[in-house]
Point group: C2
Chain length 240, copies 2
């Protein structure tokens, strides 16, 4: 109904937020990536993933509320940008990589996007057609840039706090610890996105935060609450 539409409109951030001018992140520049990337196969087809962008957008909203200057580099999603956020919309991993490289320096990088590991190397310039002989298409892949690793290893402009994400369906902690080291991030926020958890695309999240000091396992909660608590933890860490 109309009331629900209005409520959704307000919830998605079209009205001004209460920004804390002297909030805990005042004067900080936060770069956040969010959503999926789309990797073209031909002019009409592409490879996508089930990321909705909700967790990244919630983080952007909470960072603005905490007084930060927020740049949100977003893959294709159906969400409105929270007000006060500068959004840069991209489609592919390559475009996201270039946009992130471009918006540095930043004090904090939160790499929440579900970036495609691979792109299609043999993209069709025209729509791939069914063949009369029933032969099947053959896709060749090549590796996309690793944006979190690029930021974590940046020699001149590494943000003080670099946070990667690990969306896994098996061995969540093990994969997350490996990513922390390989990408040289300060934290990895890990979750189990097996379909039965309903996390990818859903409104709730259950995360573990892997740091160099250990692991915190958080309860299942709405993505907005995860975002608020993560921003609080960031502010606390930077104030040390």
């Amino acid at each position: 109904d109309i009331l629900a539409a209005i409520k959704e409109h307000i919830d998605t951030g079209a009205l001004p937020l209460k920004i804390q001018q002297n909030g805990p992140l005042a004067g900080k520049h936060v770069v956040i990536t969010a959503g999926p990337t789309h990797e073209p196969i031909d002019p009409v087809r592409y490879i996508a993933n089930r990321s909705s962008g909700k967790q990244g957008y919630a983080l952007a909203k909470e960072a603005v509320k905490a007084g930060a200057k927020v740049t949100l580099v977003s893959g294709p999603v159906t969400l409105n940008a929270p007000s006060g956020v500068e959004r840069i919309s991209v489609e592919t991993a390559q475009e996201m990589h270039e946009a992130v490289a471009n918006v540095l320096p930043a004090d904090i990088a939160i790499m929440a996007a579900a970036v495609a590991d691979w792109k299609v190397a043999n993209q069709g310039t025209e729509k791939i057609k069914k063949q009369a002989d029933g032969s099947l298409p053959s896709l060749e892949f090549s590796e996309n840039p690793d944006i979190a690793r690029f930021v974590g290893h940046h020699e001149s402009q590494r943000p003080k706090l670099v946070i990667g994400f690990a969306a896994e369906t098996t061995n969540v902690e093990e994969h997350a610890k490996a990513k922390l080291t390989k990408k040289n991030t300060d934290w990895i926020i890990a979750n189990d996105v097996s379909p039965e958890t309903g996390i990818m695309g859903g409104d709730r999240n259950q995360i573990k935060i892997i740091t160099r000091d250990g692991i915190e396992a958080w309860d299942d909660m709405p993505k907005g609450d995860v975002a608020r608590k993560v921003i609080e933890k960031i502010a606390k860490t930077l104030s040390k």
Copy 2:
């Protein structure tokens, strides 16, 4: 702003339409497919296409207004179902095929969905991970059911009027004529979905209608106008 949100809410059909109880399609059952299909690669990744579902949904809305009973078999889109339409939501081509088979008999079938020609034969049961040795994933494909061909060749329940779609980027008319024959449809509605036309995902369409009698080329117009005129042409054809 809020007014725009309310207007969009109304435009997308949440309010009752003016249904013509004695409209030109009163007493007819129309099956319409719309949107893309998503073909899973693993639990988080899938192959998609740029269909928004807008043309199919506009056709469903106009068919209801013309008095028809409308069943809309829809792939994953962000549109609301027009009111008065029974929507069946599916994800894959296989699911769409089964849903269409299930809702027959119908008087008219309008196959506007952009159904994936192929599915991934070697789907991963867990998220495919980057390999330490840099080796790349290899996808194997198999052919999806051809839903328009199934309906066009149905021995016991072929609708009186079967309309297929051809979204092409080259040789549009040639491909459309081949589809008319191969799928045994009465019409093919063809368009050029090369990215520079802005048709796929956009609000306007420029179509050609290929029938057994010849070709009609329509001007570029909003998808809502295309829908209204197609439904008028259907009513006229059935009244002959």
